[in-house]
């Protein structure tokens, strides 16, 4: 569990004026590029105020439910049991476990994913602190789809703090489609812990196109021989958006594979942070781990901090990593222009192509149009329209 979550779930509710215990500072490497000061100050300023808590009826707002033909009964369980937006304790240091209990979730309850499941998290109007944790399991030999969507919660500042723990059984396959489309006033901190049994596969796709402050710690344990993790992440950032992806791939046993492609497009004054760690346990021969991050920097005031990391304690492995940060290819821009396409449109075409290239890694083809549209929407109003967008 991250230090922050640890701090948030501390047993003692601290008075708001006191410093929050245990919050990591930027001296901690994993938090170096994502300072929490502003967030902390914001949360503290909220003070103790009663909030009318309601369940979010978010189904009709789902981005993917239609495209994937998710039937209402597939969603009901997730919708009723999981959506817990009630800030029972307005203190930032509210124990998440206590919160989960009050919301009717016991820490041990686990959703078995037999059918596609949709989890939507959108802070209800007035909800400032949203905390939830959920455990999922994918039974041996089965195939499951988990859709996670974060929606714009409106103009009110909020912090969403989520923990997912997912066990993927032997020879099972889990596809995760994770759309982070929170609003500019929202901060989202997520941690996903995925454990893969023998011959299990997870295909994780994440799109970060929200406008606020987001951090996702994605930790995948390849715990069974023959297990495989395919991670694809795309961040489309503009304005003052901050998106941080901390990926850890734990190759714990011999003969596991991981393939990672991460792209960020940063415009305006945005900041993209990516840390991709591949860890190979002693004796885990036959590990195959490939990680690539390619980034597009579109303005002089945007920042991209991308760091691949290899920590290998085995001999017979095939591991590689690569990171690039660049700008749009001037030759390609001129080529498009020379065919009659205006520079602004040519830029958009190239940015879109850079982003959409990752879709070839998303097997759930029915989701492609929705993802494409989300990319287009971001290009239409915020990204690639020039410096300071």
């Amino acid at each position: 569990m991250s230090q922050l979550l640890h701090a948030l779930s501390g047993a003692l509710p601290a008075p708001l004026r006191e410093p929050l215990p245990g919050l990591p500072s930027t001296r901690t490497e994993a938090w170096r590029y994502s300072p929490l000061r502003a967030l902390e100050a914001k949360v503290r300023a909220w003070g103790a105020q009663p909030v009318d808590a309601k369940n979010v009826s978010a189904l009709d707002r789902s981005l993917l439910a239609n495209a994937l033909a998710l039937a209402p009964h597939d969603l009901a369980a997730a919708n009723g049991a999981v959506l817990t937006t009630t800030p029972l304790n307005p203190h930032f240091a509210a124990a998440r476990s206590a919160f989960a209990q009050a919301a009717g979730l016991s820490r041990g309850s686990t959703h078995a994913l037999h059918a596609p499941m949709l989890w939507i998290c959108a802070p209800q109007l007035g909800a400032k602190l949203v905390q939830a944790q959920q455990q999922f399991s994918v039974p041996d030999g089965s195939q499951a789809l988990l859709v996670i969507e974060q929606h714009d919660g409106g103009a009110i500042d909020s912090l969403t703090n989520l923990l997912y723990q997912i066990d993927v059984g032997a020879s099972a396959t889990l596809d995760v489609l994770h759309l982070q489309c929170a609003g500019a006033a929202q901060s989202v901190i997520e941690r996903s812990e995925i454990t893969l049994a023998a011959d299990a596969t997870v295909n994780y796709f994440e799109l970060q196109c929200g406008l606020g402050w987001a951090r996702h710690e994605l930790s995948i344990a390849l715990a069974g021989s023959g297990s495989c993790a395919n991670v694809t992440a795309l961040s489309l950032l503009s304005a003052r958006q901050h998106a941080d992806v901390q990926l850890s791939l734990w190759h714990q046993v011999p003969n596991t594979r991981s393939s990672t492609r991460v792209k960020a497009i940063a415009d305006g004054r945005s900041r993209s942070v990516f840390n991709g760690k591949i860890w190979v346990a002693p004796g885990s021969d036959g590990t195959d781990a490939q990680l690539k991050t390619n980034n597009l920097l579109l303005s002089e005031t945007a920042e991209i901090d991308a760091k691949p990391e290899l920590e290998i304690y085995a001999e017979e492995v095939s591991c590689s990593h690569g990171a690039t940060v660049g700008q749009l290819d001037e030759r390609a821009l001129f080529y498009l222009q020379s065919r009659g396409i205006a520079p602004a449109d040519a830029r958009k075409m190239l940015i879109y192509a850079f982003a959409a290239e990752l879709l070839s890694r998303v097997d759930t083809v029915a989701a492609h149009p929705v993802i494409k549209q989300l990319i287009q929407n971001r290009l239409a109003d915020q990204i690639g329209v020039g410096d300071g967008a």
């Binding site: 001129f334 080529y335 020379s338 065919r339 009659g340 396409i341 205006a342 075409m349 959409a356």
Partner: protein
């Protein structure tokens, strides 16, 4: 149609074109030959409007307009087409999508209605047929993973779709084997009309066996030093570019 007068172009602080004059009329095919570094490609880029290839002095009139004052996309819409020596690979941008966007952008500029998907597709089929190009090229990303010959044929296909008034072929023969060269030349010949003019930039005479020019110009050290008909190309083939250098030395 095209009138270049005393054109001087500086690229990265180096003078490349040093007083180039050229007149091209509708329907004419002009070959520009010359040794490496003479400024052949610079001429193509300057006419198409590439950044960093701005004219220091001189003028270029295209159908009565100051071509150099136009943005590259406006030049394209006015009817100037550059077939690149090294067509750029654009991963992720579908060839068909790109062509339709280009065609509609040009039509919009000219105040013409956009072409709809069905009309566009039938136009594509028609052009593919004429050029004997397989349509799998359309499903792929622009030039991505194309062989040298495929890239050049894609340039000619784009030319066929965009129907320019003036086509500049920048070393379209480079990197092609003889079969690919013949096919590309055949495509160009099919696009020759009494209205459309061509500037064929090449290092070797070989291409001119298949695209027969009306005029041949020798470009050396930033200027056209000799003009003639297609026999001039044969002379260059026999004697190489050395005699031009000798001639220049004698003149000096």
């Amino acid at each position: 149609m095209l009138e270049i007068k005393d054109l001087h172009v500086t690229v990265a602080n180096r003078a490349i074109l040093k007083g180039l004059n050229l007149q091209v009329n509708p329907g004419e095919v002009h070959a520009i030959m010359g040794p490496n570094g003479a400024g052949k490609s610079t001429l193509g880029y300057t006419l198409a409007g590439r950044e960093g290839y701005e004219a220091a002095s001189g003028s270029v009139q295209f159908n009565g307009q100051d071509l150099l004052a136009l943005e590259p996309q406006a030049r394209a819409a006015e009817g100037v087409f550059l077939a690149f020596q090294y067509p750029v690979e654009i991963p992720g941008v579908n060839n068909t999508y790109f062509l339709r966007a280009a065609l509609n952008a040009q039509r919009k500029y000219r105040g013409e209605p956009e072409i709809d998907a069905r009309e566009f597709l039938s136009l594509v089929r028609q052009k593919l047929n004429v050029l004997h190009i397989k349509d799998d090229l359309l499903q792929r990303a622009v030039n991505e993973g194309f062989s040298g010959g495929e890239k050049k044929r894609n340039e000619i296909f784009q030319m066929a779709m965009l129907e320019p008034k003036l086509a500049i072929l920048d070393e379209t023969d480079s990197g092609l084997d003889i079969d690919a060269l013949k096919r590309v030349a055949e495509g160009v010949n099919l696009l020759r009309t009494p209205e459309r003019a061509f500037i064929v930039i090449t290092h070797y005479q070989r291409l001119l066996d298949y695209i027969v020019p009306d005029f041949v110009h020798v470009l050396a050290d930033g200027k056209i030093v000799q003009s003639g008909d297609k026999d001039l190309a044969l002379k260059l083939e026999d004697e190489g570019y050395a005699w031009i250098k000798q001639r220049k030395m004698v003149e000096a």
